[in-house]
Symmetry: D2
Subunit: 260 residues, 4 copies
């Protein structure tokens, strides 16, 4: 599948502020970047750095006044989404160092507080089957309500309020997985057929020695995802972290399939 991605971010910065952008598609074996261009007006020099875990790219910049960022990419996806149901969880004592952090609770994923719930509710299942059941539970019990959460909402908050958006679904799934001893990380992505189009957030779980996509929202097919960044939770994968004040004036994300 070939996707065309267009992002427009128009902001206004009353005072100069440092900004970390994470909007570029990650170059990965299953997502080949045919075209890929980030342009920014209204900011000092762009300073690219690697993404968390060495996956993808981020860009530091200093913005002042009118700010206009455009990202254009054409991506060839050759992802084979194998069913995870039969995949085993790796014994904890075999987890590699770089996967270990994704066992821990994080700012928005208080995995430690869900241990009794997870042990009880998802007993009898393991590995991929357990993750699938967790995702089903979340989708069945939580209402997707735009605007129902904000930047401070944690998995515990969403568990209680039973409302959220993709970020909250992902925090819940990551929290449940970690509480069960299955490493899980957040992923930001462009998502074909996501409606309304926007940045998407979902989860990767570590099963059978590799990271596997899981999306409790089921709002977009996994085959049409273009990953941007990964991390422990929403803090690591925000598409734009502003260290100061800014006013959003216009923002759009467009993902369209193109002929191959």
């Amino acid at each position: 599948m070939r996707l065309n991605i267009e992002v427009e971010l128009d902001y206004h910065f009353p005072v100069a502020a440092d900004v970390l952008l994470a909007v570029e598609a990650a170059p990965l074996p299953d997502q080949l970047l045919l075209e890929d261009l980030l342009t920014v007006d209204g900011a000092g020099p762009l300073r690219p750095i690697a993404g968390e875990d060495g996956i993808g790219r981020r860009t530091w910049l200093n913005a002042k006044g009118p700010f206009r960022a455009r990202y254009h990419a054409v991506v060839d996806l050759s992802r084979h989404i194998a069913p995870i149901e039969g995949l085993a969880a790796e014994p904890l004592r075999d987890l590699p160092a770089e996967v270990v952090p994704y066992l821990w609770p994080s700012r928005y994923c208080e995995a430690d507080r869900f241990e009794a719930f997870v042990e009880r509710r998802f007993a009898g299942l393991s590995g991929g089957a357990k993750i699938i059941e967790m995702a089903e539970w979340i989708r069945a019990k939580v209402d997707y309500v735009a605007g129902s959460s904000d930047a401070s909402t944690t998995a515990v908050d969403s568990f209680v309020s039973r409302q959220g958006v993709c970020r909250d679904y992902a925090h819940l799934l990551a929290s449940f997985a970690r509480a069960a001893g299955i490493p899980a990380r957040l992923v930001s992505a462009y998502a074909w057929r996501l409606d309304p189009p926007d940045f998407h957030a979902l989860v990767e779980v570590w099963l059978d020695g590799g990271w596997r996509l899981a999306d409790a929202t089921r709002l977009a097919p996994l085959e049409g995802l273009v990953r941007i960044a990964v991390g422990r939770d929403a803090t690591d994968i925000a598409f734009m972290t502003i260290f100061g004040e800014a006013r959003m004036e216009r923002q759009s994300v467009t993902v369209t399939r193109v002929g191959e």
Copy 2:
């Protein structure tokens, strides 16, 4: 300074459980390991992995029944502790990728919630001088009370209760630093002259392009610290993470200066 370190961990595991140990001194330029031996009885094969950020070593194992771990090391410390007061904070837009995660809030360091307090209370200072003032504030306002916190206590909890132990002092300092845009990470360490002797936790802040030690407790001289592990907060640096049940039967840490 040359230090001799002896650790004894005697536990009982009623059921087999995976365990992640992080008790070995990290081999670092300013702490040279002359002797270094971890021995474990009552566990399956030891599986060493790197520590977070590639610093130090951790060990996976599977424990059952009586468990007895011993760690012995002799470490030569050649640390020059320069005063941090005059060190500048690095502009955010110049931070390298591997330092960026230490800007974010984490499970036990809700840096995002302290922004207004930090901006107001520590205004007018910057860089190392700001960190020193933060550490002084914490030491002045928080009582060191053994047993006043537990594994679920966060920086917000300690800020309100005004009580804590080294872990909580470190969470507060890291939270304040991050809220001010200064990267900060937790460090576990052996500490010469810490009384009573125990694992210690403190902070490293990123100033002038490098990590600098800062300890809001002032319970032990920075020159006598042997670092073990680093990470976002207490979850990353725990000396022993038990995935299951265990009973602690005896635990001791001894750090003594030896002739050179």
Copy 3:
């Protein structure tokens, strides 16, 4: 049913401290006190005051050193427990002033945070049938685990941890009821056949113009309850509130049925 109640509270107060005791059975139409005697050694003069909402009795005292309280009562219960299933909730706009506070969230019953969950999970039911379903849900989803909560545990905590004791079950039920617009208050009580014997906590909900007992634990029959105090949550009904330090040395509650 006639019950004999014996309470023994032996404490030690290193420093003089004010204490509020709420251990006396409330004189109520459905629980007639045949015998009723509170004696206290090791405290200054007893100063009786009414309980919250004018129900029952509390006693202020000042304790120092060895403290020994004994409460003895013989109570005739003539309670007719009608099934609440068919009872209607009263329209909010008809609620009397003294019932209104029991609509609000309180320290340990964050009713406001459960509104979406309650609306969704218990939709289609109303009044007593809704309360019964709520109590069933709690009993099915929460494990009764002695020692799993403490004085700071709230309904949100218990909802997440899925563990608790009678106090937590009552906080959950009261929170759910209030979130559905049904007034609910906490009740402390002596409970025949509660095993192990102890002070019990449960709920009264306002249905069809009156307060009706509901106990999500089902640990003791409602017919054998002797109410002590009522209030918004555990703070109002604590059997002993100590304004200072004390060491519990011995504490026992005995409730036995006696011939009539």
Copy 4:
């Protein structure tokens, strides 16, 4: 001092909803109501009930579609505000039953969590002098920022964020007072010279056997306050509690001094 009070509340209720209004000035010895009229369009019959603690009046109603409430009052204030500095706290064991609830933590006043802070920061002072110092601390450390809090903000939140509005200042002061064993309740009021004009919230503390006004905001003179309602925290004294959905269209409060 004679004050004229005009309140206009224009709302729209898409679906019929019960509403509890608490906007009428309380008839109290130190505030004499010369004129006093509540009129409501767009609601079923008004059902007056007493306020919490028997102070003041509340009104139940059922609103649908356009809703328009007007309240007009002329109040003679003859309040003598004696300095509280020299007033003693009453020994806990002498507190009357109706004052006891104001010792407890409540939904938005987690007094229990501030005990160590209060004991340490306000040591050496007692009674009214302690309350004054608490109010000064709050005014010095917290920024009054319109819009910085919402209906879910608690005293702990405000203590950490160091921002708030009158409601938050009152929650902090009540929490500190209760943590020090001084009963404190929230009071809603009309406030002469409050700018911008709005419903005001402050605190009454129990000193020397009576309730005494205390306002950590110092935004309006205590002599010009017309009390509406009292209660444990914001939940009890809200001027309008809506059990359903509504859209605020216009709302104004005017308090002007009139010739006597």
